[in-house]
Amino acid sequence: MIFDIHTHNFKAGSRDLYGEARRHGIGRILLLGDVLRHGETPTEEQVREINDDTIADVRTHRDIADGFCFMNPALDPEFIRSEVARCFAEPGMKGVKLEISLCCRSPLMDTLMEELEKYQRPLLHHCWFKTTQKYPNESDPTDIAVLAKRHPKVRIVMAHLCGCGYRGVEMIADCPNVYVDTSGGQPEDGFLQYAVKRIGAGRLLYGSDAPCRDFGCQLNKVLDAGLPADILEKILWTNAMELLK
């Protein structure tokens, strides 16, 4: 079985996400929302609209999809609390996704992290070590490590292994509450093998970033890594099921 922990339900221009997942033998996908529809720093109304769509998509595709609530953690704490509560009341809404609204070192993260700890739900955070094209508030693995150490009881998925690279894995190696998803950029060889050696298969999760990326291309990056079957099973299925139960 395969669980893709990093997909986006874009409202416009997206082809058949669910059909493509099935075609590639993917049994479940996690919808993270149309996170950049309203730019880098969405308002409360815009966040609510994005979450309304994810909730509707999860309801429609419950046989294959779970979802995460999207949030701009720089918004008013009362809104954060109420919107998270609203989303988590929905079956299948299992955690929170953050993008590039706020660097996650910020103390403004604390309200959201306290809610996640209270509900015992995971955070999936965009992350990249970039030489060029970095967004002003984009988080890198050093930021994720700071957040993880300040909130050790919240499980955090650091997105984009291939964008974070070797150094990114090093940054979170001593943070047992940080997981890493395999998505991010081109299907580069070598990073996954390194991550398995350095932090173990128990903290790695398959993710494609579809439809920004292609299911088959990203899935074969995992299947092509020369890993034993028991490790593959953890990365492709077991770890996600345990994280989201």
Binding site: W128, K130, E188, Q218
Partner: protein
């Protein structure tokens, strides 16, 4: 199963990290396991080597015992070896070697290569620019410049390697071919095939940087006909290399 020939392979040593299949023995074993018959291979050292003669010598040495690997020597207009090379193709790294494809010296070199039926292969990039070493930011070769080069030699084939899907829209010259290694939309080849077609599209994996099976999986798309898959996999490049 279709014959698959890979136009975008490298061997040697990339300066910034080790690559699992950088060794030609491991690469050829992986190619065989993936059902790829062989390919055009360039040097991982050539982009940064101060002496491309050395890089080319090392490339030929590495490929010597592997008949399925066809060496593609590096050329640049300010090194005179392009006048003497004998190979089916030559690799150009304009960004790494810091010249324009439209400089008169470059046009002279490319014209001479084409006269000798040597395919010029323009390497747009070797890496996603976002992941480059922070002290070594190499810009991509502008897609419009590659198209301009192809337009300068109408009817003569020019190959672009490692174009992002969005760059294909600049490739309007009918003699400009390109590989699929960096082309990944949803599904992977949707944008590229819709905007560029399949008659000039070539299978290139960009191994050992990229995973072979990830690149092969792009051909597994129901909208591609068997003929289109065959053209991309091998027929298009065979026409260029052997005229068949």
């Amino acid at each position: 199963m279709n014959k698959v020939f890979d136009v975008n392979l490298s061997v040697g040593r990339w300066p910034f990290r080790r690559l699992p299949l950088e060794n030609p023995s491991r690469l050829t074993a992986a190619l065989r396991a993936a059902g790829i018959s062989g390919g055009l291979v360039r040097s991982l050292e050539a982009p940064f080597s101060m002496n491309i003669y050395e890089a080319n010598d090392a490339l030929y040495e590495l490929c010597r015992d592997h008949s399925e690997l066809i060496p593609v020597p590096a050329v640049r207009p300010d090194f005179g070896l392009w006048r003497d090379i004998k190979a089916p193709a030559a690799a150009l790294f304009p960004s790494y070697h810091q010249y324009s494809l439209l400089d008169p010296d470059t046009l002279e070199m490319v014209g001479a290569l084409l006269e000798k039926k040597i395919l010029p292969m323009i390497v747009i990039r070797e890496e996603d620019e976002r992941g480059q070493h922070p002290l070594c930011k190499v810009p991509p070769v502008p897609a419009a410049e590659i198209n301009g080069l192809a337009e300068h030699f109408p009817g003569k084939p020019v190959i672009a390697l490692n174009a992002y899907a969005g760059e294909f829209r600049f490739f309007t010259a009918p003699n400009l071919y390109a590989d699929l290694a960096f082309s990944e939309t949803f599904p992977a080849l949707a944008y590229t095939v819709e905007n560029f077609g399949t008659e000039r599209l070539l299978f290139g994996s960009h191994a050992p940087f990229f995973c072979l099976h990830s690149e092969l999986s792009k051909l597994d798309w129901p909208k591609l006909s068997p003929e289109q898959i065959s053209n991309i996999s091998s027929k298009n490049i065979e026409r260029l290399l052997y005229g068949k």
